[in-house]
């Protein structure tokens, strides 16, 4: 299966073409419908949540009498109203949809109030009286770590010998740690669901990345078979992981009310409730103890990676596992031990977010490299390159062999294209004469494993329907959240039949059409669903080929699909004509396709195996300036070279790279989740929680896709997944800020937690100056 080669008269929009997003015009003229835009069914109720006010407390009283009598109120759901099982955990049981005894964070939903209007529901929700006895709450990861308060058993990833004796004997030993902040997804469309009860089943429109989980959990709480619940989603207004597990509870609340009342019910969280109630990127604490030789080459590492899991287990097992498996990033550790802890705290349940723990593990590893290089007085880039994976140094801490490692070549290219060496000199010269403003320059690398590390999730289904007029309807199990998945999968089908992209229509994702879907996550949406769609389309194409050969009396080898036509021997008909004839000849024109990623295996107990089908790579070089009077920072230039294999859609992939980078930059620089001493999130709307805006773009922003580099493994048209990896290119911003701080503080190792707010930058400079003063 090779990348298609362009032919003179090619169909429009096949694999590799930079087709615009399939909904682009609907987006710009307002015709693209999101769940809150759908006309509501007759008698539709609107729900509002009653939220807990305590970080941790034992419920003593829930009084709904007053609220029940308020205008328009139709139902109030409490835990006792759940007929099925009151647990919606996507992993280890223990996450009740509604609490029965303890509320575990400020914002914990306690009851659902439904009324004729949103306003009535809101007012009635405020009238529900909840009393509780507060008990001690744990609000930070260090306390949870100390108390060994876990949401899952500790993890251990190990390869080689016990690292401690090696570290002790090593020529150099470094210990360090970094606190990595969380991040709100800030999808522009908040969580929303619309549940519509039917005769014996429940239809649930949910802004979810995981329709099958919504289906399963709605079925579970309502005590229905999965077959009685149909989850649908046409598009989300952004997801980023925030609607992988977090959408489920919203859909369940709406379905619970719908089931209790027999009326449709919509639940839409406003921004403050959305940020207060739902999970975010995990904050992490990463600690290391490392031994190196004189060149800074690592001999052994002993690390602790602790995730702040929040109140429930949620997706922490996967997130933590990915953090452990990305601490190494691009570097070989001859002997390594990484312990992982999922720490229970009384905060929102931290969850999936683009990168899924990978970014947090990776930045820990990068800070370790920084400490090694700067402590030894060596060039940070040189020390990093000395530690790269390579021949004979190719086993990861999880025992997967690193193959097709593209970074050395990509680094060389970026050094040249970014004029790195000359700029390094210019920046050093600038800093020598500029006491107030300091510049920093750094390059960061990225090696990101592609596949779900939970092996069973690496499967997908699709259903391709060809109608007798030649139009095609495509269904698959993936969801569209803006990333262009629907466009890419349609391109695959367009490519198989050699018909224009416009001929392929996309159906909303529905669990009634594709069963047992995996979440659209782990960057794997196009890899999995594209391949499933190809399997289905190939099967139909094969039958059409057979039919055409028979119908036009030629060999099957002489049947070609080309530019919206089918050529059979000396005959040439349009695709639609052939399909019409095939229908009359009773040829089956629909097919379901199924795909499972080959070769991968992983034992989560020993944390060994080959969890990743392949790796995606990227390189970024970033230059920043910091203001030593206020701590303000500006990104001056970023050069990116990213590996998309043979891209399915270079325009969409570029959008993922740019968008991912800026989102990562937000996480690392200005986006700060601040909880007060009572555990209340203080930054719960864009007035207080700042994501990057257009002026924050690097002043000079250059993004290139690695050219002529098809995937070595048989991925869909040899492309590579691109959803998550580019987010981690923003680590170059963090490293450049460190470089500038080092210049401001007089050299040595700057320490800087994430996000690097102006306040942290000033404090870091002050600490470095103090440390240098002490050493002097």
């Amino acid at each position: 299966m090779n990348a298609p080669t362009a032919i003179g008269n090619r169909h429009q929009g096949g694999a590799g073409d930079p087709v615009r997003h399939d909904s682009a015009y609907g987006h710009v003229d307002g015709e693209a419908i999101y769940i809150d835009d759908m006309p509501t069914p007759r008698g539709c109720l609107h729900a509002h949540l009653v939220l807990g006010r305590w970080a941790r407390a034992k419920l003593t009283k829930i009084d709904i009498e007053k609220a029940r009598g308020m205008p328009g109120v139709r139902a109030i759901a409490l835990a006792k109203d759940i007929k099925g099982l009151n647990d919606v955990s996507p992993s280890i049981p223990g996450e009740p949809l509604l609490p029965t005894d303890y509320v575990e964070y400020v914002g914990h939903p306690i009851a659902v109030v439904a009324a004729d209007t949103e306003e009535q529901a809101r007012r009635a929700a405020a009238a529900v009286i909840v009393e509780a006895e507060p008990v001690h709450a744990v609000l930070n990861v260090r306390e949870a770590l100390e108390k060994q308060q876990w949401v899952l058993p500790p993890m251990l990833m190990q390869r080689g010998d016990d690292p401690q004796p090696i570290i002790e004997k090593a020529p150099h030993r470094f210990k360090g740690e970094i606190d990595v902040g969380g991040q709100d997804h800030f999808y522009l469309e908040g969580q929303v669901a619309l549940a519509i009860p039917h005769e014996h089943d429940m239809e649930v429109w949910s802004s979810t990345q995981h329709p099958s989980e919504v289906q399963a959990m709605v079925a579970r709480i309502l005590n229905l078979p999965h077959s009685a619940v149909n989850t649908l989603v046409r598009r989300m207004g952004g997801g980023f992981g925030g609607k992988e597990s977090q959408a489920t509870q919203i859909a369940c609340f709406a379905a619970l009310i719908a089931s209790m009342t027999g009326c449709a019910c919509k639940l839409r969280l406003d921004r403050d409730d959305d940020m207060t109630v739902t999970g975010k990127r995990h904050p992490f604490l990463v600690q290391w103890d490392v031994g190196t030789d004189d060149e800074g080459r690592i001999l052994a590492v002993d690390a602790v990676i602790a995730a702040n899991a929040g109140w429930s287990t949620d997706l922490t097992p996967g997130v933590l596992s990915r953090a452990l498996s990305h601490f190494d990033n691009a570097y070989f550790f001859p002997h390594v031990r990484i312990r992982g802890y999922g720490c229970k705290t009384n905060l929102q349940s931290f969850t999936a977010f683009r990168g899924f723990g990978g970014p947090q593990g990776m930045i820990g590893g990068e800070m370790m490299m920084e400490q090694i290089a700067r402590s030894l007085g060596k060039d940070t880039l040189a020390v990093r390159r000395a530690n790269f994976y390579g021949t004979g140094r190719d086993l990861t801490p999880y025992h997967q062999k690193v193959q097709h490692f593209r970074l050395p070549e990509m680094v060389d290219k970026t050094l040249e294209s970014s004029n790195y060496a000359a700029r390094r000199k210019a920046i050093d010269a600038f800093n020598a004469t500029s006491p107030v403003i300091k510049k920093g320059l750094a390059m960061s690398f990225l090696k990101f494993g592609i596949s779900f590390n939970k092996i069973d999730l690496n499967q997908a289904g699709a259903l391709v329907l060809v109608y007798e007029d030649g139009s095609i309807l495509l269904n698959h199990g993936g969801t569209e959240m803006g990333q262009g998945l629907f466009t890419k999968v349609a391109q695959v089908v367009s490519e198989v039949f050699a018909v224009d992209f416009e001929k392929v229509r996309l159906s909303p994702t529905s669990t009634a059409k594709i069963p047992n879907t995996s979440p659209t996550a782990a960057s794997a949406g196009a890899d999995l669903n594209g391949m499933a769609a190809k399997v289905a389309a190939d099967a139909i194409k094969e039958r059409l080929t057979e039919f055409a050969a028979h119908h036009f009396d030629c060999n099957q080898a002489d049947v070609k699909f080309e530019n919206n036509h089918v050529i059979a021997g000396n005959h040439k008909v349009t695709f639609a004509e052939l399909v019409h004839h095939a229908k009359l000849a009773r040829v089956k024109l629909s097919e379901s396709g199924f795909y499972r990623t080959p070769d991968i295996h992983y034992d989560p107990k020993t944390m060994r195996g080959m969890p990743f089908y392949y790796y995606a790579h990227g390189v970024a070089a970033t230059e920043v300036a910091i203001d030593t009077l206020t701590g303000e920072m500006k990104v001056l230039r970023t050069d990116i070279l990213h590996d998309c294999g043979a891209p399915l859609n270079p325009a969409i992939d570029k959008g993922q790279i740019e968008g991912g980078f800026i989102q990562g930059m937000g996480w690392l620089t200005i986006e700060e989740l601040v909880w007060n001493a009572e555990g209340r999130l203080m930054t719960h709307a864009p007035s207080t929680y700042k994501i990057p805006s257009a002026r924050d773009l690097p002043r000079d922003f250059r993004v290139e896709l690695l050219a002529g580099a098809p995937n070595e493994v048989a991925s869909i048209y040899r492309s590579k997944a691109v959803g998550e990896p580019p987010l981690m290119l923003a680590i170059s911003v963090y490293l450049a800020v460190l470089d500038a701080i080092a210049a401001a503080g007089g050299g040595g190792v700057p320490w800087l937690d994430v996000p690097t707010t102006p306040e942290r930058i000033l404090n870091s400079i002050a600490a470095l100056k103090a440390a240098n003063g002490k050493n002097a």
Binding site: R20, H21, S23, A24, G26, H27, V28, D29, G30, Y34, D36, D37, R123, F186, L188, E189, R235, G237, G238, R271, D272, T433, S434, V436, K439, M481, G482, Q483, A625, D627, L629, T630, E632, M633, L636, A651, K654, G655, E658, G659, G660, I662, E672, T683, A685, P686, S687, T688, K690, I691, P692, S693, A694, R695, D696, T757, P758, E759, L762, N763
Partner: protein, 477 residues
């Protein structure tokens, strides 16, 4: 008096009655099926709900602005034209802003897109623009998917779209239809819209419970965030006297009802640093609606205009009953956390800013974690004049450093009559920290950080006036 709101929606004249006056334009639009306009935050901070609002001009036609529909209430549109994303397409097809965004990869999830499209459509009415204008125009729009590059490129490629001629007639008709005053009541809430400041003062005395509504960019949050129902709304938007702007040789007088957007050009002429500071208040969609009077009346410790007004020795003119007027120095206007010198029967009338002495130095610095649409951790403004080698005039104004904006009096006292030297600047800095500022710790910054920044800004002012370092700010990099 008229009990109905008259406006034009996507080219169609409409009359609204029976809609509670605190209903937001966003909710009103969506309830009637115009769902292209999205709610992203309901606080004017993300721009997903951006619409174009046309205000009839005296000389004919509309003055168009991009505004957030989530914190505008319906009667604020009386006598105005509204264009939503559904109304941009015409017989000839999509608007260039739509085509460029769609074709250039400017959309991913699409939820912020209608807001960007409206901001760009509004921008396309301007014949000339550079990158700064473009960035200003989308400063109130957030996108979480694209990373903005394709949106910027769409904006750069945007052609000038001239105003359709049909608008002249629409505007004239609207003006005629809404000449008579508006007193609109629905859902038990009264919306009072006086035509003169004296009427407003009178109405205020009659309805002391009424919320005073100017632009509503902060007041609107009481409706959308605190879910309060106003007992009544007293809207100042119809009062022409409040919208006057007069520039003389000695200074600038601006009515309390002048929006930031309309004030910025005049501020730039008074001093570019003042314009640059006000340009960083809110996003474009806030600046097109929010007023200078509202910024002061709001009495926030971090309202960004105050430090500069203090440093420029501005005066606030206050209107009282029976045509009474009085003036208060800017530094004395805000007396405590969200408290002002205003008596219950008074309203802010105008702001008078004297032109700085030609030899005076003036600087205004805002420190926040984001350049656009963010609230200061610290805002500091400085005025300084040196004559015969000594400081003869020194004033500084500070925001984010106490329960109210303050004047740096101890800082000034150290400097006056002394030479402008680094040693004296250091001494003034020490006095500033010791006596003038007393910041608190909150999520925008710790008290200690804010103090460090105060010192840093005082030092930057030195560097920028003394010219002793090659680069003294990030803007200069």
């Amino acid at each position: 008096m008229r009990n109905e709101v008259r406006l034009v929606v996507n080219g169609q004249p409409e009359t609204v009655s029976g809609v509670a006056p605190h209903t937001t334009v966003l909710n009103w639009l969506r309830a009637r099926g115009l769902t292209g306009t999205k709610e992203g935050c309901a606080e004017g901070d993300c721009g997903a709900c951006t619409v174009m609002v046309g205000t009839p001009k005296v000389e004919g036609g509309f003055e168009w602005t991009a505004s957030c529909s989530c914190i505008l209430v319906v009667p604020q549109l009386d006598g105005r034209a509204l264009t939503t994303v559904e109304g941009l397409r015409d017989a000839s097809g999509h608007h260039p802003a739509q085509v460029l965004m769609a074709e250039g990869g400017g959309t991913q999830c699409g939820y912020c897109t209608p807001g960007f499209v409206m901001a760009l459509a509004n921008l396309s009415r301007r014949p000339e623009r550079d990158d700064e204008t473009i960035l200003d125009a989308i400063s109130g729009n957030l996108c979480r998917c694209t990373g903005y590059r394709p949106i910027l490129e769409a904006a750069r490629a945007l052609p000038h779209v001239p105003t359709p001629e049909i608008e002249a007639g629409e505007a004239a008709q609207l003006l005629a239809q809404t000449k008579d005053g508006l007193t609109y009541t629905a859902g038990g809430v009264r919306f009072i819209a006086p035509n003169t400041i004296d009427e407003a003062v009178e109405a205020h005395a009659e309805h002391p419970e009424a919320w005073i509504l100017a632009g509503g960019t902060d007041l609107g949050l009481r409706i959308t965030k605190r879910h309060e129902v106003p007992p009544a709304l007293l809207w100042l938007g119809r009062i022409a006297e409040l919208k006057t702007l007069s520039e003389t040789k000695t200074g600038l007088s601006i009515g309390a009802g002048v929006t930031y957007e309309d004030a910025v050009p005049a501020f730039n002429r008074l001093h570019p640093e003042l314009g640059d500071l006000v340009r960083r208040i809110g996003g474009a969609q806030i600046r097109s609606v929010g007023t200078m009077g509202g910024n002061l009346g709001n009495a926030s410790p971090i309202g960004d205009s105050m430090p500069a007004l203090i440093a420029l020795s501005a005066e606030i003119e206050i209107a009282g009953p029976r045509g009474k007027r009085r003036r208060v120095a800017a530094a004395d206007f805000i007396t405590g956390y969200r408290k002002t010198v205003l008596e219950p029967d008074e309203l802010i009338f105008a702001i008078h800013i004297p032109k700085p002495h030609p030899e005076a130095q003036f600087r205004a610095y805002k420190v926040a974690r984001r350049i656009d649409q963010d609230i200061s951790a610290v805002c500091g403004a400085f005025r300084l004049r040196i004559e015969g080698g000594v400081v003869v005039d020194a004033v500084s104004g500070w925001g984010g450093v106490a329960a109210r904006p303050v004047s740096g009096e101890a800082w000034a006292a150290v400097l006056l009559g002394k030479p402008w030297t680094f040693a004296n600047v250091e001494a003034a800095k020490a006095a500033l920290l010791a006596s003038d500022v007393s910041p608190i710790t909150d999520f925008r910054g710790a008290a200690e950080y804010r103090r460090t920044v105060c010192a840093g800004l005082a030092q930057r002012f030195w560097h920028e006036t003394a010219g002793d370092v090659p680069v003294a700010s990030l803007e200069a990099v």
